[in-house]
Symmetry: C2
Subunit: 248 residues, 2 copies
Amino acid sequence: MEQSDTLPENAAAIFEQIVTSRRSVRIFDGSPVPESVIEKSLDMALSAPNSSNLQPWEFHWVKTPELKVELVKACLSQAAAATASEFIVCLARTATWERARVDVLNQLEKHEKAGVRIPRAAFEYYRKLVPLMYAQGPFGLRGLLKRILFFWTGLSKPTPREPVSRHDMEVWATKSTALACENFMLAIRAYGYDTCPMEGFDSVRVRRLLDIPSDALIPMIISVGKRGPKGVTLPVIRADRSLFVKIR
Amino acid sequence: MEQSDTLPENAAAIFEQIVTSRRSVRIFDGSPVPESVIEKSLDMALSAPNSSNLQPWEFHWVKTPELKVELVKACLSQAAAATASEFIVCLARTATWERARVDVLNQLEKHEKAGVRIPRAAFEYYRKLVPLMYAQGPFGLRGLLKRILFFWTGLSKPTPREPVSRHDMEVWATKSTALACENFMLAIRAYGYDTCPMEGFDSVRVRRLLDIPSDALIPMIISVGKRGPKGVTLPVIRADRSLFVKIR
């Protein structure tokens, strides 16, 4: 395992510049964004931490001009869409974890055969615990049984409680996808371009347009471009920090 | 508005190093993490993009030794908790948006009085649209009405569809909170420390321990520390990129 973790001394200062110079840009200037910038930023998205490494995300990079026109309309023709150069439709998948589980197991076995020491517990985790945790069964019946079981065992010892429903799986997949979305947006910024994460869109029309699988949510659509001279329309507004950070 | 967006030339390369050297660390070496590192990283969290700038997040930095002992137990005594120096319990709040809405309005008015040009549409948005979008009403009845209305208007023109239920609000708040969590974890990494985002915890016990408000979800508990010599227990495993990135 790569245990190295050394970074340049100014890494934190540069990270802060990336974060604070990122703004949700509403008006892009129309410049093209190099394909390599999108590609690299998607790589950064895929490097985000995620639940049990089951990567319940999907990024649809919409390039076809006709689809882009329709996507802008589905984004209510807002300026952040209408002036953007590129679009990433971000999906949170609730039904791909089983495929991912098998894939992780296969890759762990390959690593082991190549001489990498893999803890036994990791194999056990993906073979036995992951299906127990994420399968909710037909009509959510397995989830319901788990909820009862967890309540019971929880009386005497600490017990994980979620996910035990389709709803929980949606929250679960959205969470990992958002972690990846943030990596993507910061990477785009680091390359000198900008984004607007949009939630103001017609999800029914986007689903129809891109034939989105029924198990997926669309946490956001990220538009990408070069910041226009009046691209940021509001000052930075943040409430009193003590509302959000609690010392316990 | 600050429209400046210039970053050092190596920003993208350094960002990539931060992202790829971040691993979920399971065994910390016990070194203390400077308070300033946590403080600055929380600032980075609070700078994340979020839905309508309503910042539905809360970060509980657990410092009291007795609470930390109990929190480790509630995290099933996993090594990533037992060996950690600091803990941030991350909450997604579904009931704080109204307070945030009023605060944003007040701040916009203050900026305007100070001579900053604020678009009329921004005031309209926070005065009228935000309550329409996020209030779900008693028993979710307003949400239900919205769902019917959106279906109807959606027949003839693009119409935003969510959030229209308590469930949607949970997905909504979790999404913004996860964006902030990723900023936090990357910032900690940029400072040379490490994190483990944990979902394996007993949410019932954590709620009781920290008296978590009932409208909140706990998307993750992030443990923080210095990476131990065998802190990373598995190789990087990522599936074929074509499974996650679709060109449309």
